[in-house]
Amino acid sequence: MLRLILGRVLDAVPTILLILTLVFVALRLLPGDPALLALGDYASQEQLALFREQMGLNLPIWQQYFVFLWDMVRLDFGRSLTSQNLVVDMIGRNLPYTIELTLMAMLFGILAGIPLGVLAAVKRRKWPDAAVRVYSLVGYAVPDFYLGAVLLIVFALNLGWVPINGAGTDLASRLHHLLLPAITLAFVKSAFVARLTRTSLLEVLGKDYVRTARAKGAREPRAIYRHGLRNALMPIATGIGLSLLATLSGSVAIELVFNRPGIGEMLISAIARRDYPVIQGGVAVFAFIVLSVNLLVDLAYVVIDPRVRAGK
């Protein structure tokens, strides 16, 4: 078990290296002198030279690369060019908001999606199935930021049931602020989960062991849930786990719509200010989250499926 985890972690190392290298190349290839960008057009030659020295910009490019990698390993992303705050602190402040939004959206999406998917599979080719299919199609097509904007106009602006922007302070107000953004993301999520559940469950319900269950006298609910859904949970869990990242991607736009703090909001506003250390930090955080989630999904597999647990 431990060896398995260690193996998967080691597998991720080249990927992380690759992404960091890409970020490095992209930022160094970018037109524009970072020193000039940081200090502005009116900086003197001496100031620029000093800045380059401080930032290591005068070193040969391969040395810069290793300095960059070492900084990344130490989570030293530097300071924001505009606010002078440490980027790692900014990430620390913003990350919890993004995580709470993503997880809440996942929760809502799963709670709505799995029952819908089961309903569609059990009532296959009847009207509930068709209704769920339409629901999924719309969920796949509607842009989350559009849905968010509409919900914002209706429930925050016109009805005033929820706050218009921000993320709140104490627990109650945080949940209150979280409600609408989470529901927005959850709608798209539930469409995906419903479709995934339907497909997985239908496939499993056609398996021989479900017939065996019926042959030994299990009634339909038992055959469907005990024998069917339990086995369908593996592909469903994997799919949901991987789709966590889709929800995370969606959170970027949603944070903007609802004017919430978060990594996405931090990244996007940094882009507008050309605040490269912050951009770099934001991208690195996303990359790190993606790899961790993939790792966790792999490990979840091991826990659910006795075949994998036994080492194949």
């Binding site: 080249p14 990927t15 690759l18 992404i19 970020v23 992209a26 930022l27 970018l30 199609l137 719309v138 796949y140 097509a141 509607v142 842009p143 930021f145 559009y146 849905l147 904007a149 509409v150 914002l152 106009i153 602006l157 339907r198 497909t199 239908l202 990242l245 889709a246 995370l248 991607s249 969606g250 970027v252 736009a253 903007l256 719509v257 996405g264 990244l267 996007i268 882009i271 507008a272 951009i279 934001g282 991208v283 996303f286 990359a287 993606v290 790899l291 993939n294």
Partner: protein, 289 residues
């Protein structure tokens, strides 16, 4: 000059068309929507009642009227005209980037699958690394460092899609290469490029086509998302995504641009999805749900 226009058979059999178009109202409707939107994009200058960029301080945030069917935005620009012109950016990016991705991805996938060895392992490794990122997040990450603008958006979306195409192309190539008739072709000494063009490409065309249709929908969504985030089509040029972005900063002014642009994105993406699903079912009956 000959008057006869050479016709290219696009469709393999009448059966295929039948499955695609008859007996399914939704598919027909989707086709009509796509056709209309393409025509609107092509003839935008003739259809739009106003210039989409002309501002007017006297006409800020007007509600729908006979003059401005969908009202005006915070700069006094006609919303309907902006939506019509916006369809150009949205559709062009939506169509061009998956095609670019398909070409590059197919080449990479076929090369990896056909030649195998170290090339295959390297490409697959790179591919897996990229595939572990959701397309939107990958696009946001790339666009963050590259910035917006038309060709950047096309490039970013294409890059985000390449791994998917490469994977399908590689898998299909691997299965084709193992077919006896390809082994026979190798045995009689046919050159590799010939085998790839004659045997491999025709066989992987179908899955690539299906993916392409489905990803036009994704690309339109991605363009909209990136433009909404300010990483896509740059103002003052209109795209459905940045219309919503503009309107959101003017949310107390007028909700009409948001509603209009969002509906357009939803309907067009829905149509391409329905088309893609139908195409997949028609080409590969086994995956029918």
């Amino acid at each position: 000059m000959s008057l006869a226009v050479p016709t290219v058979p696009v469709v393999r059999s009448p059966n295929f068309l039948q499955t695609l178009f008859t007996g399914n109202l939704a598919v027909t409707a989707a086709g009509v929507v796509i056709m209309i939107m393409v025509l609107v994009a092509i003839f935008a200058p003739f259809l739009a009642p106003m210039d989409p960029l002309t501002q007017s301080v006297f006409k800020i945030n007007q509600y729908p009227s006979m003059e401005h069917w969908l009202g005006t935005d915070q700069f006094g620009r006609d919303v309907l005209s902006r939506l019509i012109f916006g369809s150009r950016n949205s559709l062009i990016v939506g169509l061009v980037s998956p095609v670019i991705a398909a070409v590059i991805g197919t080449i990479l996938g076929v090369v990896a699958g056909y030649y195998g060895g170290i090339v295959d392992r390297l490409l697959t490794r790179l591919n897996d690394a990229m595939l572990s990122f959701p397309e939107l997040l990958l696009a946001i990450m790339i666009a963050s460092v590259l910035g917006g603008g038309f060709w950047n958006v096309v490039g970013v979306i294409a890059v985000a899609f390449i791994p998917g195409f490469a994977r399908v192309a590689r898998a299909s190539t691997l299965s084709v290469v193992q077919e006896p008739y390809v082994e026979a072709a190798v045995a009689v000494g046919l050159s590799s490029p010939r085998i790839i063009i004659r045997h491999v490409l025709p066989n992987i065309a179908a899955p690539i086509m299906v993916l392409l249709t489905l990803w036009v929908a994704s690309a339109i969504r991605l363009e909209a998302s990136l433009s909404f985030l300010g990483l896509g089509t740059q103002p003052p040029a209109a795209s459905w995504g940045n219309i919503i972005r503009d309107a959101l900063s003017n949310i107390f002014g007028s909700p009409w641009p948001i509603i209009g642009a969002g509906l357009l994105i939803t309907v067009v993406v829905l149509s391409f999805n329905v088309m893609g699903d139908a195409l997949r079912d028609a080409l590969d009956p086994e995956t029918q749900s």
